[in-house]
């Protein structure tokens, strides 16, 4: 279908010492992002600042908008004008964007949003860490839909996953969220840039229906404004040519079905994870984001002291790795789920694991320290 393309990386290949936020901006540029719109908010603003500078260098467009609603709406507009486009924000801004994200989903608009999660709810602790926006990423806008949400654990992955987010958004014509947390956004560490970057081009087919496919889980081609295709785009229910159909139950059912199926039926291709020391593990820690770094260290320490512990790291949060969790659960082990929220992913894991799942919640604006994970696992092993 849409073609992948190898391009030269935007920065010279080599090792860099970046923050996660800087790496996200570099990933976007490398992936071909040429439009950014945003509104200042801690702890994500450095992404916007770097994009302001970098987009100038590559002849892209940077807009500081009047608010987050305008930011995300203009990103959708830019995407339909043919640009790879993105925004970045944090909790309060993410909340404001929800209606337009639903628009992006329903009009099948490729776009990338980086959420640097901070300690909510509300204004909460603006400079402190949390990962409480994961359910919002999934269900924040009204109605039934699917999105893709990734969870980076390192500066390197902020770069890699931002590129991946652009590629997935083009492949599936869906908003893709990089659900980072403040600890990764502000972490500074070595990251390596390789000479070539895998990117994905928008799939175009002149005259083809831009909002429907033969299959009930297909991704239609996407024309751009100004190409002479007389596109009509609407957030109301529409037929395969984009014409509003707000009375026909079959049209609604078909469209809602397809935008869900095109993600869910391909989830085995979308979902990524990493496993460490799972064989013979009596307790498997399931973690994501910065917390997976703490868990990684803790598992390593526990292994050194002879404890049979493993780590499953979720790189994709949505669509959820239901099949994988089910397989892991079948091994008959205990799963331990540390999170910087009140159990948003724990609940999903419990749905599919079929074995004992032990949550560990921390909502104090601090990272979960490896020593706390070690102490808890020593109690349950």
């Amino acid at each position: 279908m849409n073609d992948t393309m190898e391009v030269q990386s935007a920065l010279a290949p080599g090792s860099y010492f970046f923050t996660g936020n800087e790496a996200a901006a570099e990933g976007a540029i490398a992936a071909g992002c040429r439009y950014y719109a945003g509104y200042p908010i801690t702890p994500s603003s450095e992404i916007m600042e770097r994009m302001a500078q970098r987009l100038k260098e590559v002849d892209g467009v940077f807009m500081q908008m009047e608010d987050e609603i305008a930011s995300i709406c203009s990103v959708v507009g830019a995407s339909w004008s043919g640009s790879k486009a993105m925004t970045a924000t944090s909790g309060p801004g993410f909340s404001l964007m929800q209606e337009a994200l639903g628009y992006g989903v329903f009009t099948e608009t490729p776009l990338v949003l980086v959420d640097i999660q901070r300690a909510g709810p509300c204004t909460g602790q603006a400079t402190k860490v949390g990962s409480g926006d994961l359910m919002q990423a999934k269900w924040g806008s009204h109605g039934d839909y699917q999105i893709i949400a990734l969870s980076p654990w390192s500066v390197q992955e902020m770069y890699d996953q931002t590129i991946e987010a652009f590629n997935l958004s083009e492949q599936y014509r869906v908003p893709v969220f990089v659900m980072a947390d403040e600890a990764v956004g502000h972490l500074r560490e070595r990251m390596d840039i390789s000479p070539l970057v895998q990117t994905r081009n928008r799939y175009k087919k002149s005259g083809a229906a831009p909002f429907g496919t033969e299959e009930n889980d297909g991704v239609p081609p996407m024309p751009s404004f100004g190409e002479g295709e007389s596109i009509t785009v609407t957030g109301s229910t529409h037929n395969e040519f984009g014409v509003r159909k707000t009375d026909d139950p079959a049209v609604h059912e078909r469209l809602v079905g397809r935008i869900n199926n095109k993600i869910l039926n391909h989830r085995e291709n979308i979902i990524q994870s990493e496993a460490y020391s799972l064989d013979d593990a009596e307790v498997i820690v399931v973690a994501y984001g910065f917390t997976a770094r703490s868990a990684f260290f803790a598992v390593d320490q526990l292994r050194k002291s002879g404890k049979k512990v493993g780590l499953l790291r979720l790189k994709t949060i949505w669509p959820f790795a239901d099949g994988l969790i089910n397989r892991i659960g079948k091994l008959g082990k205990k799963l331990f789920v540390p999170e910087m929220n009140s159990g948003q992913v724990y609940g999903e894991i419990r749905k599919y694991a079929g074995c004992e799942v032990i949550p560990y919640h921390q909502t104090n604006g601090r990272i979960i320290h490896p020593k706390d994970i070690i102490a808890h696992i020593e109690r349950i092993i």
Partner: protein
């Protein structure tokens, strides 16, 4: 819609959804005539609208690219589309509630940035689509679904609002003044600036029937009487002037 404008309309959608006597249908005609007169290429025009009856003027009827967005956000979407592809001619067409109430912030900021957009506000002084609730443009005393005793608040003067925010050109005309309205639209479309057209467009269904204009003919007649030029306004009795709508072109000073 007249035959000669067929080429400007999307083939698969023939009828418009407006109530009989709705001003939006007239405005639709006037906008397309302005485009036809200027011989603008529809393939290069993007029409962006929000949500409301007025937002259906271009979408999906106009045979260019149309982007029917969210309530209030048309200008924000249009800004992204225009900035990402500056070659597009981008025209925003939406209602008064949409553009000036929920979307008021985007309106003033686009005017401030002087983003190259022409915004045509179909002002029926009411929320038509949702059943006739009071709008930020409803005159003092208007009876609406949410102001049974009459609107207690003053309306926006939209042209002054956008000029104050930095718009280069603003004009207010009624659909009962088709020739001057069309001329103003053409002027706006010919500029490379943020330009604003306030097109007074009667809503007989939601505004008229509550405010002593039972038929659409009555509404049109009333509009014709109420709209005066700036020249006519000069020296008019103050109380009388309060019942009038001053139409004309307004430039950045």
């Amino acid at each position: 819609m007249a035959r000669d404008l067929d080429a400007y309309l999307r083939q698969e959608v023939k009828s418009t959804p407006f109530c009989p006597g709705c001003g939006h249908g007239i405005l639709m005609n006037i906008i397309l005539r302005a485009i036809a007169d200027m011989e603008l290429d529809m393939k290069n025009i993007l029409f962006v609208s929000g949500i409301g009856c007025a937002a259906w003027i271009p979408s999906p009827h106009f045979n260019g690219d149309t982007l029917h967005t969210l309530h209030g956000r048309a200008i924000a979407f249009a800004t992204g589309a225009k900035m990402a592809n500056p070659k597009l001619k981008v025209i925003v067409i939406s209602g008064d509630g949409d553009l000036t109430s929920i979307g008021g912030n985007h309106l003033i900021h686009a005017a401030r940035r002087n983003t190259n957009l022409t915004v045509i506000c179909a002002n029926n002084m009411i929320y038509g689509m949702t059943g006739g609730q009071v709008a930020s443009t409803s005159p003092l005393g208007t009876i609406t679904a949410t102001t049974g005793e009459g609107n207690p608040y003053r309306p926006f003067d939209l042209c002054r609002l956008v000029l104050g925010a930095g718009a280069e050109y603003a004009a207010r005309f009624s659909v009962t003044q088709p020739l001057v309205l069309m001329a103003a639209i053409k002027k706006a479309l010919g500029m490379e600036d943020f330009t604003f057209i306030e097109a007074l467009s009667p809503c007989p269904t939601q505004f008229g029937r509550r405010n002593k204009a039972d038929s659409s003919v009555q509404m049109l007649k009333a509009l014709m009487q109420d709209c005066i030029t700036r020249e006519q306004a000069k020296g008019m009795d103050k109380d009388l002037l309060k019942t009038k709508i001053i139409t004309g072109e307004f430039h950045h000073e």
